[in-house]
Amino acid sequence: MDSSAQVIIANLTSPPVLAFAIGLLAVLVKGDLRLPDPIYQGLSIYLLLGIGIKGGVALRQSDLSDVAIPALATIVLGLLIPVMAYLFSGKLTKLSEIDRGALAAHYGSTSLVTFTAALVFLEQSSIQYEGFVTTLLALLEIPGIIVGLMLGSRHLKREVSWGESLQEIFSSRSILLLVGGLILGFATGVVGYAKIEPFFGALFIGMLTLFLLEMGTLAGRRMRDVKAAGAGLIVFAILFPIVSGVLGVVFGYASGLSMGGAAVLGVLAASASYIAAPAAVRLALPEANPGIYLAASLGITFPFNLTIGIPLIVLVAQSLEGMVG
């Protein structure tokens, strides 16, 4: 067995990925492994805050001047990827401009859980990455949504209430928790973090496992939509993350990131939002069909990235090392 196969198998037998599979399978036997809603909310608060805090602790140890160029590269990615998604989906599907704008908003933004799974994967493979990648996550979350909404609403007759929508996006709980965690971690530093490590550190993979059980159920429920969506959308939802993931790796190397950091930026670019973007799109672009964008981001791209995308992008980063940047 060669090492790339080993890498993929190690990923597939990790508890979070298995939990996702079990949640998904349970839907097939008409079972229901959804967590009670408040537990699900509680877990997502825990994950966002924990990722933020650890990112903040690491950020404090980084040389802040090292962050500027990768941050800029990330924002450029956040503007570029949604445009690419909009055009790419036009080639592969017959979707309306509204639905393609909605897709662009989802693929332009990112998925916290995919990001987290990538960090877990890198740590298991003993690959180093820059401590400030969580900052890049926070930077990539929003711009893509706005670009996608703009693309989708270009041909609408009605007024789009931008003020309200932007307010809702920026004061959304996930952004606040991520940024709040970054501040907390930065301010408390290594000494303060030691006191909460048993909670936010040691339990992290276990909590993620529980969370992915629910994500599996949610993805399983989208399978009906996936079937209805047609081959074009499925191809898009698998190919596009590979394209944007490779682009992310290239941007990562070009902005001076290490191999691990470039892989993380690749995964961020490849991942599609299924929390922040749907909420924003639903409010600002209600004409778009949720069955399309959720089938793609939650039903296909998320499981694809979790199982194959992450190790694939890491392999890409390993192969490109030394060739770019």
Binding site: E164, P278, V281, L294
Partner: protein, 101 residues
């Protein structure tokens, strides 16, 4: 007891994403208050941001007959087409009708 008089009770079932927006609308339309609770459901369209952000909310609002018609008109104009929203008006007897504008 003070006398009972009849006002309108308007009930709105809507996808959770609309919570803040509907509350703002109701206040702008001049109601004196409203009550929200969590709900789930199935309907004929089932178009929404999905399970990720939870199900529906149910808003109940005591208002004058006139306000309740205004609210229904507003819902029809702004929400019925694109959002998962169902609404109905029923009769309710209250004490101190003046409170329910």
């Amino acid at each position: 007891m003070s006398e009972l008089t009849t006002v309108s009770l308007i009930t709105i079932v809507a996808e959770t994403a609309l919570k803040t927006r509907l509350a703002k609308d109701l206040k702008q339309l001049g109601v004196s208050g409203y009550t929200v609770s969590a709900a789930n459901g199935e309907g004929s369209r089932n178009r929404r941001a999905g399970d990720v952000e939870g199900g529906n909310i149910m808003i109940q609002c005591l208002a004058s007959r006139e306000s309740s018609l205004k609210i229904m008109t507003h819902l029809e104009a702004e929400y019925f087409e694109n959002y998962a929203v169902v609404a109905w008006v029923s009769a309710a007897e209250v004490i101190r009708k003046e409170r329910y504008t």
